[in-house]
Symmetry: C2
Subunit: 326 residues, 2 copies
């Protein structure tokens, strides 16, 4: 059975997993939905009460019922690279491709519905707390008065985007930034604002979870970390060194609960470690990069992804049962 | 406890349900996400392990924990009517509003994730068949050769959009149309094409399901229906008359299974009734209009929606349990 990887051509991180799958003789089909139609073809037939779907890239044809897993890595917008690209063609192509893939019994990393839900930062904070992970006091509001009252209770605050967009995502990136003590919060009424009690960081923690395997890495904060206006490790100029660390059992339990309830097979958690060694949940990115962590720490994350993808499908694909969706 | 209705100002269909909720003393909060921020405000606080959210419209403040149900009718794009409208503000506002609403115990009609999944036509066809509803032989393909072979087996075909977009949806509407016998299908390679065996219609059937209540309406086909190039009832010029009809038990069972597996509280099924009285599944629109059916048949669909919305939330909202999501 074949592993399907949906990603763009330039995705070197996907290469890490592909090499391992190839080495183990697991068939892989890699395609970019942006190439449909033209470079990629799809076909599905609903006849006599059965569905039979096929994918084709470069002359190779693979049965959708023969997919063991689907890795949604960095797929392009369907039809974006077609000669006749349009919003309508993208919609038609997306429906054809993802609509048919939803009819298979393949395991998803991650299922599109779970992925979409998981991007909601307000829901992340709620679920993290429900899962037993410590969450810094947080306010999301369009009321200046409420923001002022929150700031009176928690004077040392950071502000960050509600949508938690990451650098490179459509250019909508805004770093986490400290709030000035004299802030009057009048502008809060112009857009929902996320304020969070600042954790005085001893370190940044990245916990990458692949199925049931966890890889934690720690980057110690510099001596002047407290003075920085920008407290976002993603925007630090350089000099950040990630080292592997063990995962405290309570964090491991919380992260496993979080991913199980979110129905995610993959998640990259960001924590702030405080002076007492407590890991405070900041966010969980369901499509977080792992290449830079793997390179710095030597943790075999790509290999773990490959092994998860190589696993058997969760349900027999030739029986008339539901797909594995959240 | 309050019913939240997310819809635009001009939505007269929503008025049908609001009138009934008001008459029964059920508090209703109606808002258009397009008015956030400005006309609508949101606030949510994550402190001491609890989440407390609030919505405000026109000076009225409602607790999110006090929501019994959420009706996603015809909501505008968040922030679209804000003075500072932008893609970024829409994303931030959507995340703030829907992200927080996902943290409540309210029942959804329909949950955004279920709604999104339900829009996939290829998945609809698969699920309908799985649910025991008859589905006409269908092909979705970008291979001209496969289309030709299918047409040889089923010479009497219609073509329709894969994405099943409806008139008025972003202007991306294309009616279902008969395929000419001399069609060569070469253009199929330019975009996924949905071909379906044409059902020789005795009537169009609209089955509207609200929770566990079903309302079927039938529009008999005209005597010259077989000669029409456009076989799409939505595009017929006029003269269509809908009459209430009972739901055959096997169809009722199939529709209930479909909605249960799709985790939808509301669905509008379109069937084609053939000369033998068989109802062939064409599609299920999770946000299908019901006003025109109610007006023609007198079926109390708006009232059924109101009663469903007035029901108790599925889980206690003050306990630390998961929201009711698919």
């Amino acid at each position: 059975m074949t592993v399907l990887i949906l990603t763009c051509e330039q995705d070197v991180t996907a290469d890490l997993a592909v090499v391992e799958l190839n080495a183990n003789g697991i068939p892989v089909l890699r395609l970019d939905p942006a190439e449909l139609p033209g470079g990629v073809d799809v076909s599905g037939e609903y006849v006599h009460g059965a569905f039979a779907g096929h994918l084709s890239v470069g002359g190779r044809v693979v049965s959708m019922q023969g997919l063991r897993s689907i890795w949604v890595r960095r797929p392009g917008t369907p039809a974006a690279r077609s000669a006749d690209a349009s919003a309508w063609l993208s919609e038609e192509s997306a429906q054809a491709l993802y609509g048919m893939l939803r009819c298979t019994g393949a395991r998803w990393m991650n299922h599109p519905d779970a992925a979409r839900q998981a991007r909601h930062k307000p829901w992340q904070l709620w679920l993290a707390r429900e899962s037993g992970l410590p969450v810094p006091a947080t306010l999301i509001t369009t009321f200046p008065r409420v923001a002022r009252e929150f700031a009176a209770r928690y004077p040392d605050l950071v502000v960050k985007p509600v949508s938690g967009s990451h650098p490179g995502d459509d250019g909508l990136a805004v770093p986490t930034t400290r709030v000035r003590p004299d802030e009057d919060f009048g502008a809060v009424e112009h857009g929902p604002t996320l304020l969070q009690r600042r954790i005085r960081k001893a370190a940044d923690i990245r916990l990458t979870v692949v199925g049931e395997r966890m890889f934690a890495a720690r980057a110690a904060a510099g001596p002047d970390a407290d003075d920085d206006a920008v407290v976002d490790v993603r925007f630090r100029p350089s000099g950040v060194t990630w080292k592997p660390v063990p995962v405290p059992p309570r964090v491991a339990e919380g992260a496993a609960t979080y991913l199980s309830r979110a129905q995610l097979a993959y998640g990259a958690f960001d924590f702030a470690e405080d002076a007492d060694g407590i890991w405070w949940f900041l966010e969980c990115n369901q499509s977080g990069q792992f290449g830079f962590i793997e390179i710095e720490t030597g943790q075999p994350i790509g290999s773990a992804v490959a092994q998860w993808l190589a696993g058997e499908p969760l349900i027999p694909t030739n029986s008339a049962t539901e797909p594995t969706r959240p």
